[in-house]
Chain length 239, copies 4
């Protein structure tokens, strides 16, 4: 993570914003949004706008580390993917990024009951992550349609496993990671973020990663780096 990004975190501390902390325990799980090719592979539809942040944060390696550590410790990971289906193109209205995603056919799938052409497509998971996605600790949820899990089964799935605390990671920081965070807080989960296992759009005059980091620092219980997460996990009691 660029030191200028991390300055947001120290600025919050200096400004006296509380940092409640987040203790990892047996009722803690990880939620990962959009670990998909359209964000993270060089030919992905959104790669051009997120690549700077993904490289600065070392996002792919950090997400892989999170996947690996969770599997080693038996910690559950809930995947919240993003898919668009042909009927979604007929929606009668949408915000700016919805228009962008639809025009680019981002995360496109042929149908909800049709997997043809999925493998290796922009909607598929990044190849590097697939070794982890078959694990017994992985729960794949219903796809979200805009940015939040409000229209998915994520929170029910978490509760059915008695999960009370969530660590957020994935793509992209100011959209799906932040909307998931905001929604899970309102659903009564305790939430922290692994900031550099995430990344988001950086365009001239628009550093959305830094904007997201401010918000996440203010609303969550703690912002981790992947390194800090590893330390916290290693000293956690998961029994």
């Amino acid at each position: 993570m660029k030191s200028s990004d991390w300055k947001v975190i120290s600025a919050a501390k200096e400004a006296g914003i509380p940092d409640p902390g987040f203790e990892i325990d047996k009722n803690t799980a990880i939620v990962i949004t959009d670990p998909q090719n359209d964000f993270l592979r060089e030919d992905g539809v959104a790669w051009p706008i997120v690549k700077e942040s993904v490289k600065e944060n070392n996002t792919i390696e950090n997400m892989s580390t999170v996947f690996r550590l969770a599997r080693e410790k038996g910690m559950k990971i809930f995947i919240s993917p993003h898919y668009f289906f042909p009927t979604d193109k007929e929606w009668k209205f949408g915000g700016a990024l919805e228009k962008f995603m639809h025009s680019k056919e981002m995360y496109k799938r042929k149908g909800r009951l049709d997997m043809e052409g999925f493998e290796g497509s922009g909607a598929d998971f990044l190849e590097e992550f697939k070794q982890y996605l078959e694990g017994e600790n992985i729960i794949l949820c219903n796809p979200h349609k805009l940015y939040s899990p409000k229209n998915t089964d994520l929170s029910l799935q978490l509760r059915k496993y008695r999960i009370e605390k969530v660590l957020m990671a994935g793509m992209s920081t100011n959209l799906c990671v932040e909307s998931h965070t905001r929604n899970l807080l309102e659903e009564g989960f305790e939430v922290a973020v692994i900031a550099d296992a995430s990344g988001s759009a950086k365009l001239p005059g628009l550093d959305t990663f830094q904007g997201a980091l401010m918000n996440l620092r203010m609303i969550t219980s703690h912002v981790f780096t992947t390194e800090e997460f590893e330390e916290a996990l290693n000293s956690a009691s998961l029994k």
Copy 2:
């Protein structure tokens, strides 16, 4: 609004992010979050951290203009207030700003069925707005508890009046305005924002207004200034 803030909007345009536009019609309403003393009066608990933004944006005057225009045109305004009750202090966990708000007793009320001490308190509405809040176009909703309307009756109230499109304004931009926006989008409303009828924390190294503006530009259908809103309203067909 400071020109450096508005640069975010032009940067988004230059980066090719679509600007879908937002047509005001008879099914459009305004939602205002937290028009309360603890944000907007000089002795308010959060005034020290938002005052810079509130002054730069001319927030209070712009909110008054929005209230006045809506009343003149018969457009509904739904108020989503923020109140804390004594039992809320016993919550077992919370994020950073929750800790801040609880420690400052922000928006404190004596009880849900007890109005003693409310008038003129930090939880009460700003005096400047009260002339508008008695209007027939005002619907006061259940209070939110964190930042979003997920735990209130706002979206039901909107639907019961056949509202499909929402203009957001109020305090504070990156917290309640943004969480309301994100939630209303997921509930299937068409959403725009009146950016300078809002304001949020500015602390050294933490310009949350600019961060919010980026997000709002990306997820809503349009970001208005109060002046643009007035023009759009005057040319709108509300029949």
Copy 3:
């Protein structure tokens, strides 16, 4: 409870419908809907249609027992009340019972910030319950508007106290108790019902209590009588 009502429970057993059971523990709370005069006092608006069931079930005495036991054991009770405000009368549509409630001005209050005329009104709590409602174990939630807690802060309040299991009671069984039950199940709570601490409309050819009992037996983890609840509570470990 009439034996013919209880036959529904034994019929479900004979039909082989599982009865998962419900263990009361320290993360268990009670949720009570609409313990209000308009249902339970002889001049209440809905009294004529629920009185038969309330008498058969001994509802008021059983609800008092539930209140008393919870206070003795320090178990939290979350109250989900029903209030209508003047602006609600302008809603543009509504289902059958909404029309009924609005026409009768059931649970009417003068305003969200106006307690004038509340005390002793149809919207107020039944006098018998007031001695319990001041207790430290009572959390009063935002009012629901139709039947479910979807538009209230109930589930957030429960989670903020780390409640995972809920015992439902209150009025009326097939409307608010059942809609609360259905909603809380989808929010990932474990739910049981104290059936005879509840009651509902009985009209010629319309025994809604029996209908509700079938549904509640099928969707919850267990249906208790107040007597069974007392036994279960007395043998529970609440540490």
Copy 4:
């Protein structure tokens, strides 16, 4: 529909319960739950418990009529299916019918991204309906997990097509049809039911169809038969 079932409707009328009515217009759609083999085919897991009601109501023929009429008129049908995935078996708790469904492997699918073995399985759509399910008027939603659309994208999908009014049909009346109805009402939709295009469990001493009919009559705007729906549709203005 058996005349004894329909008596519930006339009893409600005689008891003076309002019948607000439901006008079909261009913003009206149909929602159908669980049109799947496990309910409706003779070897389906739940067939033994619903077959009596399905035969009495002529459910399959009536659902086919609803599908056909909607296609002829270009009215949208939103399908809310029920699927269970292998990870769902590890849920740590559940109510009575959840236990039943899991033990029977009802609606079982191999995985969210794995269609192997789906065709013709208990989770697949009834063969009679497939001719309609390919139509351009059909939107297939995320699967629900218990009974309500709370954990799906149904309400977002409806709103994205500007749907404000919903006609419910499908399986089973007191579980998914009723929980969908209750949830959609709280989301601010105007809801009616086509009662005999639905059916539900009838076991000795447990007539869940009649119980559901009482509740649906009380909370919706109108209860149609398929015949009445056809008449209403034919005289509706859909422009």
